[in-house]
């Protein structure tokens, strides 16, 4: 263990210390801006396993926790702006942080979005014996009195978990600030809160429900996706089809430093494009609890920037930013 740590520490310092003169991708590295074990770790594992055949050497996964991704974006805007080897995992949560200025001076235009790993969608979840049989029941109660329902999720007010609730209320012009929102520390605690009766509605992700589907303990009232999802969620209606204009995709993907050479950038894009076509990639994404979303290159960069803009709009409406 000691040796292993020592070795990885040396490896890391060498990555940071050697300025990236080489323009070729010779030591691919995925940076997960969090502790091991979370969603960013998972995103990097998809790149590591999915791009195995695209590069000569194996891809390293390094962890760079700190400030919900702020440390990583900071580094890629100060020292590693042109590092051709490194990609950084991000999620919709990171996009929201860019939109609401949580990353300080760095925004969506300070990185170069590269490719997506896949996507997940928000879900409105209640306990099996909840009085709310449909999303309509719940929304009727909320429209009458937004403070009458206790809702919760794994993130703070203003986080993307909170945004799921906010956009749903916004779709019927209910002020999100009036809702009773309980912020838990992660989805696990929030689910415990739902099953224990502390909260009545939980705003989670469809993907995490895979492990709970079939236990009969919880019901998904609606998925916040544009259209119906594949099995085992085929029976779950979308908020859209129930008449509520609320969509919350949780996209997972990778960005690079903004000064990366176009050769290196397109080499990465090609690698992702080649992987996207394979069956292995599709199974990999599915195994990690994600739905396919294959976007890369300039098209993807533009799409992400549009999403950030949209989020900034929602955040402004919800009163999160001026």
């Amino acid at each position: 263990m000691k040796l292993l740590n020592l070795a990885s520490a040396f490896l890391l310092t060498s990555f940071v210390a050697v300025p990236a003169f080489a323009q070729d991708v010779d030591r691919p590295e995925c940076i997960a801006p969090a502790q091991p074990g979370g969603g960013f770790d998972l995103t990097c594992r998809i790149a590591q396993q999915g791009l195995e055949k695209q590069f000569n050497g194996p891809m390293a996964v390094t962890f760079m926790p700190g400030g919900i991704g702020a440390v990583a974006i900071n580094l890629f805007n100060t020292t590693r702006t042109d590092d051709p080897n490194a990609i950084v995992a991000f999620s919709s949560g990171s996009l929201l942080n860019m939109a609401t200025g949580k990353y300080g001076e760095w925004g969506a235009n300070d990185v170069r979005f590269l490719a997506t790993a896949g996507t997940d969608y928000g879900a409105v979840i209640v306990k099996a014996d909840s009085p709310y049989q449909t999303l309509g029941d719940l929304m009727a109660a909320l429209e009458k009195d937004p403070a009458s329902v206790v809702m919760g999720a794994g993130g703070s007010v203003g986080s993307q978990d909170w945004m799921k609730a906010a956009i749903l209320l916004k779709s019927k012009d209910v002020d999100p600030k009036k809702m009773r929102y309980v912020a838990f520390d992660g989805g696990g605690e929030a689910i415990a809160g739902l099953l224990g009766g502390s909260i009545q509605v939980y705003f989670g992700d469809v993907g995490e429900m895979v492990s709970h589907v079939g236990t009969g303990e919880m019901r998904i009232l609606a998925a916040l996706s544009p259209e119906r999802l594949p099995d085992p969620f085929a029976d779950v209606p979308t908020a859209q089809e129930l008449g509520y204009d609320a969509e919350w995709p949780i996209v997972r993907g990778y960005y690079m430093g903004k000064n990366v050479s176009s050769e290196a950038y397109s080499q990465w894009v090609e690698a992702f494009k080649a992987a996207y076509g394979t069956d292995e990639w599709a199974t990999l994404v599915k195994d990690k609890g994600l739905l396919p979303l294959n976007l890369s290159g300039e098209e993807m960069d533009a799409d992400m920037k549009k999403r950030v803009e949209r989020m900034a709009g929602i955040a402004k409406e919800a009163g999160l930013i001026e």
């Binding site: 000691k2 091991p36 912020a183 605690e189 224990g196 009766g197």
Partner: protein, 507 residues
């Protein structure tokens, strides 16, 4: 009951498979070493080894058994550097330093190590037995523990820790306040506002618990050692061959049992883990003791209680994960991720769909606890010899290990500055005769207290009466009152009796 026995029987078949048995032993041994290294605890050990276990292509039950072995091995190992070096091996081992290290200084390192191994064994086994028989019932109790109940639990924890106040209450309170202040750094969950980030992105999400523990305890201790060395006042410790005796065990048997019960029940609650469990067990034990004057100076009870508790809580945290698919701690969250990686759904269905994994894991925990006791007792002498390494070699070695440990798991150079800074700060506090344990407790309990209080108030819409409406919370407030009032009353009664004793002869 029959289902439990047949399940256990099939589980032992899986766990006693030679390869799996080897993995249990390997995991426990590796875990002990990981836990003993300052800076790397169970959560990092499991997180680092998860990808390795996955890529080796083990069968799911084997991989989970290995990771679980590392998990409770690390809970065992954390005590070693706490006792020998006064540097907590992981976050749950902070309370172990309070009496464990003084014991080592008094020439009883061997006894401290062996007693804590036995206490850990009993705590761990107690938890596994309760888990196998009452797992589902306990888990459904745990999830009904609402945020307002957590508030009451924290009040109880603070009340039992009032015993730590010691000779200088003002300094203890100040230390606890410093802990609370450190806990308030980071994004506020209820408003999304960043609190006290001072423009540093690295602390936007708050200060990591590990960083505070290694900084305030580990680094401060090292600076203290270097200072003593420079001043020439450093005492070299003799090799001691002391070992735990039956008499010691008889003396601490109720302590260990109480620690196990407290640890287990705090462990099954999602969100509270080994650090809270060991702190409450220590505080309650000191409160309950008739003569608590030796606590902090090497009292065996002060060592046995937190050690039994942190291992029992490690077992307890597995309950909601296995039965409901809800992780009760950071480490079980990673184990849960590991199960999902193998396409296994933890929860009630796992016991019917994949019994070999559910029961194999539980059986491996029985074996693991026995294995850890067997591994640990003979090694006591070897570990105790560590103290005979001259300090000028030992100190830099620990410093390097702590730096590598913190860096390898968090990979953020900023944390290295933080532990250095906190180390200097902790050293100043020690110079001013502050005790550091209240800082850590303020940090852990304060954060949980605030989060849950505000959760409770958002649930009730700002109505404070929610705090006292549930049965759980009323019981906990009553217990809190009890631990504060009873020692005072008992003390007064005893004083009264001894004053009134001499004139009255028994009739």
């Amino acid at each position: 009951m029959d289902a439990v026995f047949s399940g256990l029987a099939s589980g032992f078949q899986v766990a006693l498979d030679p390869f799996n048995l080897f993995l249990v032993l390997a995991g426990c041994f590796a875990g002990t070493l990981i836990g003993a290294l300052p800076g790397i605890g169970p959560i990092n050990g499991v997180a680092i080894l998860l990808p390795i276990a996955y890529s080796l292509g083990f069968k799911p039950e084997s991989a989970i058994i290995l990771l679980a072995g590392i998990y409770y091995g690390a809970e065992y190992g954390g005590r070693i550097s706490s006792i020998l070096l006064n540097v907590p091996g992981d976050a749950g081992a902070v309370m172990t330093t309070l009496d464990g290290n003084p014991m080592a200084r008094n020439g009883e390192a061997g006894k401290a190590l062996s007693l804590s191994a036995v206490a850990s064994f009993i705590g761990g086994t107690f938890a596994v037995v309760l888990m196998s028989f009452f797992g589902p019932a306990l888990a459904s109790y745990a999830i009904h523990f609402s945020p307002s109940d957590y508030v009451a639990l924290m009040v109880f924890a603070f009340a039992s820790l009032a015993s730590l106040v010691g000779s200088n209450p003002v300094k203890t309170l100040l230390a606890a306040l410093i802990g609370l202040m450190l806990a308030s750094v980071g994004i506020d969950a209820n408003t999304g506002v960043a609190r006290f980030p001072f423009g540093i992105p690295d602390i936007l999400a708050g200060i990591d618990f590990l960083v505070v523990v290694i900084g305030l305890f580990g680094m401060a201790e090292l600076i203290h050692l270097v200072e003593q060395q420079a001043a020439g006042t450093l005492r070299t410790l003799k090799i001691d061959k002391s070992f735990v005796t039956m008499k010691d065990l008889a003396f601490t048997k109720w302590t260990i049992l109480r620690g196990s019960v407290i640890g287990f029940f705090i462990g099954i609650l999602p969100g509270t883990g080994a650090s809270v469990a060991s702190a409450v067990a220590y505080g309650a034990e000191k409160r309950a003791a008739r003569d608590s004057s030796k606590f902090g100076n090497g009292d065996m009870r002060g060592l046995a209680a937190p050690e039994a508790a942190n291992n029992a809580s490690a077992g307890g945290a597995m309950v909601p994960m296995l039965t409901l698919g809800i992780p009760g701690s950071g480490t079980t969250a990673i184990l849960l991720g590991a199960l999902l990686l193998f396409n296994i759904t933890p929860g009630p269905l796992m016991f019917s769909q994949r019994p070999e994994i559910a029961w194999g894991l539980i059986a491996s925990m029985y074996i693991g606890n026995v294995a850890l006791l067997i591994i640990n007792l003979p090694l006591v002498g070897l570990f105790a010899r560590m103290l005979t390494i001259p300090q000028q070699f030992l100190t830099p070695l620990i410093a390097v290990l702590a730096f590598i440990g913190v860096y390898s798991v968090v990979s953020n150079p900023h944390d290295l500055y933080m532990i250095t800074l906190l180390g200097v700060f902790g050293w100043f506090l020690r110079k001013l005769q502050f005790s550091l344990a209240p800082v850590i407790l303020g940090f852990v309990l304060g954060g949980l207290f605030e989060d849950n209080l505000r959760r409770a108030l958002s649930i009730s819409g700002g109505d404070w009466s929610i705090l006292v409406t549930s049965f759980n919370s009323v019981i906990l407030y009553a217990l809190a009152l009890l631990v504060v009032v009873v020692p005072i009353l008992v003390g007064r009664m005893r004083r009264g009796r001894s004053e009134g004793e001499s004139p009255q002869a028994p009739s």
